[in-house]
Symmetry: C2
Subunit: 308 residues, 2 copies
């Protein structure tokens, strides 16, 4: 293989009761990247469209992630990268993670697949770190593995992939505002009450059980975040209204995607998802803030090659 | 049906990473109870063996739990109860819960089964409350439902029963010491770090996933309690030594059963369970404290009728 073109999907991390551990993979929303072998060794970025990102390899998320895996093998060829960003930076649906995950996926393919997808998560975290300031797997894991992913822990990284029930849809409303990472971190408290923690891990346990048993009601009952959402929702205009309208129109649950500003809802069936999307849109129009809406099944594949 | 005799099993609650939410049901260790219809209305306790417990209905855990369900129907007959305790009080393997769960199970049978097992959990919590001071379901749920139980939340009570992987064994070491409920509560802190909480809910999520996928290694990796065990283990002599010996001899994980003093280990297969039990025993003998050992498969049934 001398060249590979891929689709690297958007993702939802910090999924409600699963802050820092639970994520899912979206369909239809994602970047495209092309990776090509070159005779000169090293990693270069030849082209970026759709976003104003650095071309210097070691300042670019995809570049850093690509280097992390490339350097473990040090092959006798180089790689040049074309990045076509479709996921907006700062949207809260894993824009930088898509770049990092896509990069390690492609380099692994060009190297002849020395690493498993689970190992790729580890490499992608290296790239993600330059965007977020810390290595974490909650977006790169679902982007690479598809479905739902639970990051059980780090040291060593332990990621569990869980199939989505087939009728599950995600609705995402992305308001075109910037929520600074520093702000979304600043509102978190280093300590939480034991009582809230118990409520949260009961709900996360229930959500995981609901995924395995395909029990949509249980998924809905479990989608309650008593720890993070109450602190962060104030950073997102009209959050409560959008969430309540989603729930009143049949969503199983809703919450903040990533660190925001995107708001997501999970729904059973396309019809409900469309109704919920309409309701969420309506309740956002009054803010005067521009926004995008996405309706997506849960993507079972993660990053995939696009055949030309 | 005029009379019913039952076996009501011991249980492990506060299962490691699942403090206050996760429990399991044991086999072979449990009380026996006989419930008999009488012409005079009301609930009376006619006989108690194996423990020094009050015969007054409204001071007895079984009596209070029986009344909670009996009074909702107010039938034209009464019920007398014989209690044969085998589970030692204060052992940390659900002695009072077995009484409460057994009572509601029997009364429901004598009433013609108006309630589901899940509803019985609610009634049994009423009896449990007079033993523990608060209504909680973490022992009565596995005692009634068998297998593993996750109490997702209360208001309303939401209990999820999960089958155990078939080769899973529990080993329990019960030191004959008293750990006062007030002491085991006093060491808990009302606040915990967000970091620890995330570690804990990652592990609980992993454990639930391990149960559904019958992944024994994942169960083992997930059995880490960074919140409660570090605080409570000091109340149990030689806890660290027992736990380490269990792990070194092949246990998947180990922890405190309930609020102690019992120590449990989970193992794959009977052979490993026996080896682990031997190692745990050895490391307790040096304390000079008497103790019981139990080796048990996970009980899939919960409370059951014993045919005479």
């Amino acid at each position: 293989m001398n060249e590979i073109k891929i689709f690297c999907p958007a993702t939802i991390a910090n999924l409600n009761c699963g802050f820092d551990v639970l994520g899912l993979c979206l369909e239809g929303i994602g970047d495209e990247m092309i990776f090509r072998k070159t005779s000169q060794k090293g990693i270069t970025i030849s082209k970026i469209t759709g976003a104003d990102l650095p071309l210097e390899t070691n300042k670019n998320v995809a570049g850093v992630a690509a280097l992390a895996i490339y350097n473990t093998i040090n092959p006798d060829f180089g790689i040049e990268i074309e990045i076509h960003k479709k996921i907006k930076a700062g949207s809260g649906i894993g824009s930088s993670s898509a770049s990092a995950a896509g990069a390690v996926f492609c380099v692994n393919e060009l190297l002849g697949k020395p690493y498993s997808k689970n190992q790729l998560v580890d490499f992608a975290m290296k790239g993600e770190a330059i965007a977020s300031g810390s290595e974490h797997a909650d977006n790169v894991a679902p982007c690479l593995l598809g479905g739902f992913t639970l990051v059980r822990g780090y040291n060593p990284l332990d990621v569990i992939r869980i199939d989505s029930p087939s009728e599950l849809f995600a609705v995402v409303l992305h308001p075109h505002i910037e929520v600074k990472t520093s702000d979304s971190r600043a509102v978190l408290k280093p300590e939480i009450s034991l009582k809230s923690a118990i409520t949260q891990w009961g709900n996360l346990g229930g959500f995981i059980a609901g995924l395995y048993t395909k029990d949509y009601n249980l998924l809905g009952r479990s989608l309650q975040d008593v720890v993070i959402e109450p602190l962060r929702k104030h950073l997102i205009p009209n959050f409560d209204l959008v969430k309540n309208n989603a729930l009143q129109n049949g969503a199983l649950g809703a919450g903040i995607s990533g660190a925001g500003p995107s708001i997501f809802a999970l729904c059973k069936g396309q019809e409900t998802a469309e109704k919920v999307a309409y309701a969420m849109s309506n309740s956002y129009q009054e803010t005067g803030i521009e926004f995008d809406m996405h309706i997506s099944k849960i993507n079972p594949n993660g990053v995939i090659e696009i055949k030309k």
